[in-house]
Amino acid sequence: MGHFAYIVTIFLMVAGLFIVIARGNLIKKLIGLGIFQTSVYLLYVAPGKLLGGTAPILAAGYTVYSNPLPHVLILTAIVVGVATLALGLALVVRIREAYGSIEEDEILGKEGGA
């Protein structure tokens, strides 16, 4: 087992980073950012797991619980994430209204020509 969870996390993180850098389409960029973000959830939650542990809801008969603190932090992060996604999409829609395109190259071309 070892560091397998971390390797998966890093793969997802780098895939998200690659989409953000390499793709010109603004909606695709935001989806890449979302993938990057979910990989961070995994990075936080994975170290909190204990083998044989249960979800951190106290009940008789269980003594080993997984770590609740990362869960709390990530709950906050998910909600903030959807707020930033919504704001980013609003910006994309406005850019589309102003330039008639959501491709980075076309927008930069129009900026240069103007």
Partner: protein
């Protein structure tokens, strides 16, 4: 999950990409259940796979559904990504083993959280609402600011304000 992402990278039809990202969110929620994070999994399934997909589809409705062919060769981003990946793997090798009960993360404040000081059996709720209540206050501020920003951006302009 990784496979979904790999399919997503070259796909140029944005509708397909958005549906794939919804599937990816559900898979992530499943992985979080396996990691005992049930509250996070529920939020991810409803917010990540639900609301995000609806928002993306709404934005797609207002924009064009096809991504243009990339004009540059993606060698530079690929090189950057691979070097970042190498650095991160090197860093991850220094982390404690997966599910090691003596790791610092399980030793610091968490034993106190698990003593049920606030009489709420769900520890995540107890920590969220009691020990770390200010986090939620900050979160509310962020969500409010984002909402205000969206309204400011997307408000219908009155004709006299309109740009010529």
């Amino acid at each position: 999950m990784a496979l979904t992402v790999l399919v997503m990278i070259p796909t140029r039809n944005l509708f397909a990409v958005i549906v794939l990202s919804g599937i990816y969110s559900f898979l992530m929620a499943t992985a979080l259940v396996a990691l005992d994070a049930v509250d996070v999994a529920m939020t991810e399934a409803s917010v990540g796979a639900g609301i995000s997909t609806v928002l993306l589809l709404g934005a797609l409705y207002l924009c064009k559904g096809e991504e243009a062919k990339p004009v540059h060769k993606p060698w530079l981003p690929l090189a950057v990504s691979i070097s970042v990946a190498a650095l991160l793997v090197y860093g991850a090798l220094g982390l404690p083993e997966f599910a090691d009960p003596s790791a610092p993360i399980h030793q610091h404040v968490v034993p106190r959280y698990l003593q049920n000081e606030v009489d709420v059996p769900n520890v995540v709720t107890a920590v969220l609402a009691s020990f770390r209540g200010y986090d939620t206050l900050g979160e509310t501020t962020v969500v409010f600011t984002a909402g205000a920003g969206i309204i400011a951006l997307l408000r219908r302009r009155k004709p006299r304000d309109a740009q010529p």
